[in-house]
């Protein structure tokens, strides 16, 4: 019996449609175009070794490379260094540089540039706020044009993380930032001009070392301070991409995005927490600190301060991050909190002042929610509203506070050591809680000498379990960023460190469909 030819064709067509129903058409990136990015603010000055605010970091990732970088998931990967090797005593690190890399000024990357960059960031005159992160370096030696050796004073396992872009961008030997113009880098884009509060313009660097990249010709950073206006500018097509949209709009925008707009939440390392000054009464009593930790309802804080756009934190790294630790959970327990306060001699509660940063609405919201929650256990919190400079002077420099709210975007917090040694080692200048626990100090030092990731995870889990119990710092929120972009923008996706250009992704691989 023969099948009719038409029937054969029909069956064949049905088979193919059923077998390959939604095969997407591979999209070929289109070259060219001007990409306009709506940013939250316009950071002044641009010296990659000296300026360290989050919005500055975001721009640096377009202009510079570090010796190493982070991939989409937040793992360390090669960048300007293709390989590295520790000596047997783990005090010498030899790095091989990527051949054929050009700076924006046309010069080729050589060992001398790496030495210059590392020496410059360590030089007191540069006034890099990150100078302490390089205090482990004894010397930087140029072995040859393609090889650099870094000699460390002692074994320091987190050192590789200090060689990433945010700590030490590599710039050509002898160059400096001048009058707000950043020095040349090796990144996918090069600096053209910056009109303060108006725009910053970058153009494609044709000799970028990743061949064929970037796709777009020009990048414009457009500062739009108001979230609502930035989101409107995106919807009207005046910008292609918005760095955060208003929290109240996120839920609706995720379910039902506006026409020609994509909305997606991206992970971040932005963590927000309470700091309790453990040298100041009544917080010098660990039972009082513990009571505060138990009195706070973190789920409510996440819901109230960031409209639920984030996760409850009990450590510095979120669940999706490779450095997330399996710490013991601690839930709100008002009865236990009251009992602890009674044991500490505060059965009737007490009054305390909380200096709050007005410039950061999230921190202010956190403080207000905590104010209401702590009232339930008899603690009266009075908010003292301060702007950035006044807050920094009173809280960070003079350490004149009992309890406060703080947070950071986390660009320079990529290792356990960055997060926990800085915050909890007894003599660290960043130990704002002035916490001191010899056992924790010991573990933190052990962490610095240990290279194996699993062993380090065990060490830092111990640290965090102890810290969560002693409560000098109460982690509360790890937020997400609600990014939004026009559907014409292709190839961009957020990464774990919230970098805008990163190894294997970001705006160096983004393109505009026209």
């Amino acid at each position: 019996m023969r099948f009719p030819r038409k029937l054969c064709r029909l069956l064949l067509a049905i088979f193919f449609v059923a077998a390959f129903p939604v095969l997407p058409q591979a999209q070929t990136p289109q070259m060219g175009g001007k990409l306009i990015l709506g940013m939250r603010m316009d950071p002044p000055a641009m010296d990659p070794h000296r300026d360290q605010f989050s919005e500055q970091f975001k721009r640096f990732s377009f202009l510079y490379n570090g010796l190493l970088d982070y991939d989409k998931e937040g793992h360390l990967v090669p960048s300007l260094a293709t390989s590295w090797k520790y000596s047997a005593d783990q005090k010498e690190l030899t790095l091989k540089l990527r051949p054929g890399v050009k700076f924006h000024n046309g010069k080729e990357l050589k060992g001398g540039d790496v030495k210059y960059s590392l020496d410059r960031v360590r030089d007191k005159k540069t006034a890099s706020p990150l100078i302490r992160d390089f205090s482990s370096i004894q010397d930087v030696q140029v072995v040859d044009d393609a090889t650099v050796k870094i000699i460390l004073k002692e074994v320091y396992s987190p050192f590789l993380s200090k060689l990433t872009l945010y700590y030490c961008s590599i710039i050509p030997a002898g160059t400096e930032a001048k009058e707000g113009t950043p020095p040349p880098g090796t990144g996918p884009f090069q600096f053209i001009e910056h009109k303060m509060n108006d725009y910053m313009k970058l153009k494609k660097f044709p000799q970028y070392w990743e061949k064929g990249l970037p796709y777009v010709d020009e990048i414009i950073f457009k500062p739009i301070v108001e979230d609502t206006v930035r989101y409107t500018a995106l919807r009207t097509g005046e910008i292609h991409w918005a760095n955060t949209i208003p929290f109240p709009d996120v839920e609706r925008a995720l379910k039902n995005p506006p026409k020609d707009v994509v909305v997606q939440e991206g992970p971040t390392q932005s963590v927000f927490y309470f700091i309790l000054n453990s040298t100041k009464p009544p917080f010098n009593n660990f039972k009082v600190r513990q009571a505060i930790a138990l009195a706070l309802d973190k789920k409510e804080i996440v819901a109230g301060a960031v409209w639920g756009r984030g996760e409850v934190a009990d450590q510095a790294f979120g669940k999706a991050h490779p450095y997330h630790l399996p710490v013991k959970p601690q839930d709100q327990d008002l009865n236990k909190a009251r009992a602890l306060l009674s044991e500490a001699g505060f059965s009737k509660g007490f009054k305390v002042t909380l200096p709050a940063l007005t410039a950061h609405s999230l921190l202010l919201e956190m403080a207000k929610i905590a104010q209401a929650q702590l009232k339930k256990v008899g603690i009266e919190v009075e908010l003292q509203l301060l702007d950035g400079a006044a807050f920094n002077q009173q809280v960070l420099v003079k350490k004149d506070f009992s309890i406060t709210t703080m947070g950071d975007a986390g660009e320079t917090r990529n290792d356990f050591d960055d997060a926990y040694y800085r915050a909890f080692f007894s003599t660290s200048p960043y130990n704002f809680a002035r916490y001191s626990n010899p056992a924790v100090d010991g573990w933190l030092q052990e962490g610095r000498r240990t290279f194996d990731l699993e062993k380090r995870k065990k060490i830092y889990t111990q640290v965090m379990d102890q810290v969560n119990q002693d409560a000098p710092v109460i982690y509360a929120i790890i937020r997400t960023i609600p990014y939004a972009w026009r559907t014409s923008l292709k190839g961009w996706e957020p990464n774990a460190t919230s970098a805008l250009c990163y190894s294997g992704g970001g705006f160096s691989r983004a393109w505009l469909e026209r």
């Binding site: 706020p129 206006v229 409107t232 807050f391 960070l396």
Partner: protein, 314 residues
């Protein structure tokens, strides 16, 4: 006239000296300094001391003041600590943008307020008067930031008539520049218009009740002539004074509107300077604004004579 101008300009010297001393002292009384602001969370003691020396904060305050004053006398407003650019250069970029916005918004407000005030006064206690006064009350009561955002949502997002933000120089592309100017100028102009409408109305009512107006009417002059030729000129004197004062105040920055519409003006720069405790930037900006204030008031005084020749400035 010339000697009047010379004297007024010369009066700038003591004014600026007092302003310079005040801004220098008051700004340093606010808690927090440029190093506190610059370093954020990274308050490393070693870096702090380096920066204090680099910023010149290690010297006694009188020395810092005299050093700054000496620089000003040499035409140098210093270098911004946060932006790392020459203050004069930064201000010369931003002040024209603010003048552009401020003058446009005052123009819009006059276009709205003077006719509305005249109609309200001549049609007193009639629907036109109530409508004008309701508009004025709304204008005064509505906060600027809310009005700006509403304008953006209506005219940019829903109607798509104007861009929601941004600045284009009128020298670069005049038409596009006006297109970008429309919403901020109307937002700011609306608020100014509310004040001016009330003022024009009350001033017109006062003048319209004068005897010379009654005489003019009795002589049979047409009402339009009475209102526009005889009454309006006299009624405008207080309006011009307030317009001058508003314009001078707007030069100090239209911070809210600049922030909402991403308008790169001096207000936004000044605000950032204050947050960063950028002493040279804020001190320089306040001095320049003070000069502007005195000069605008001089222009207002000169305008009186044009409106009413009986007023002699000497």
């Amino acid at each position: 006239m010339l000697s009047f101008i010379v004297r007024r300009v010369a009066s700038l010297v003591p004014v600026l000296l007092i302003v310079s001393l005040m801004v220098f002292t008051i700004f340093r009384m606010i808690p927090g300094d440029p190093v506190d602001a610059f370093l954020g969370m990274e308050q490393d003691p070693q870096v702090r001391s380096t920066l204090r020396t680099q910023f010149g904060l290690d010297k006694p305050l009188p020395v810092q003041y005299l050093y700054w004053l000496n620089n000003i006398l040499h035409g140098n407003l210093g270098k911004s600590l946060s932006v790392q650019k020459n203050v004069l250069q930064l201000l010369s970029e931003k002040i024209p943008n603010t003048i552009y916005l401020a003058c446009s918004s005052i123009f819009v407000s006059i276009l709205i307020a003077v006719p509305a005030g005249i109609v309200a006064a001549t049609r007193r206690k009639k629907p036109e008067d109530y409508a004008a006064m309701t508009f004025a009350l709304l204008g005064i009561s509505i906060p600027g930031f809310w009005l700006g955002i509403m304008f953006i949502l209506i005219f940019s997002l829903y109607l798509g008539w104007f861009p929601s933000m941004g600045f284009v120089s009128p020298f670069e592309d005049p038409l596009r520049s006006l297109w970008h100017l429309a919403l901020p100028a109307f937002s700011l102009g609306w608020l100014q218009a509310a004040i001016l409408t009330r003022l024009t109305r009350s001033s017109m009512l006062d003048v319209l009740s004068r005897e010379y107006v009654r005489t003019a009417r009795a002589q049979g002059h047409p009402e339009g002539r009475v209102v526009f030729r005889y009454a309006l000129k006299n009624a405008l004197i207080p309006v011009v004074t307030v317009v001058g004062l508003r314009l001078a105040a707007l030069l100090g920055g239209t911070i809210v509107i600049e922030q909402i519409f991403s308008w790169p003006g001096v207000g936004l720069l000044l605000l950032q300077g204050i947050y960063a405790r950028d002493y040279p930037l804020v001190q320089g900006a306040v001095l320049i604004i003070a000069v502007g204030f005195v000069l605008i008031n001089l222009l207002v005084d000169m305008a009186y004579q044009l409106i009413d020749p009986r007023i002699r400035i000497s």
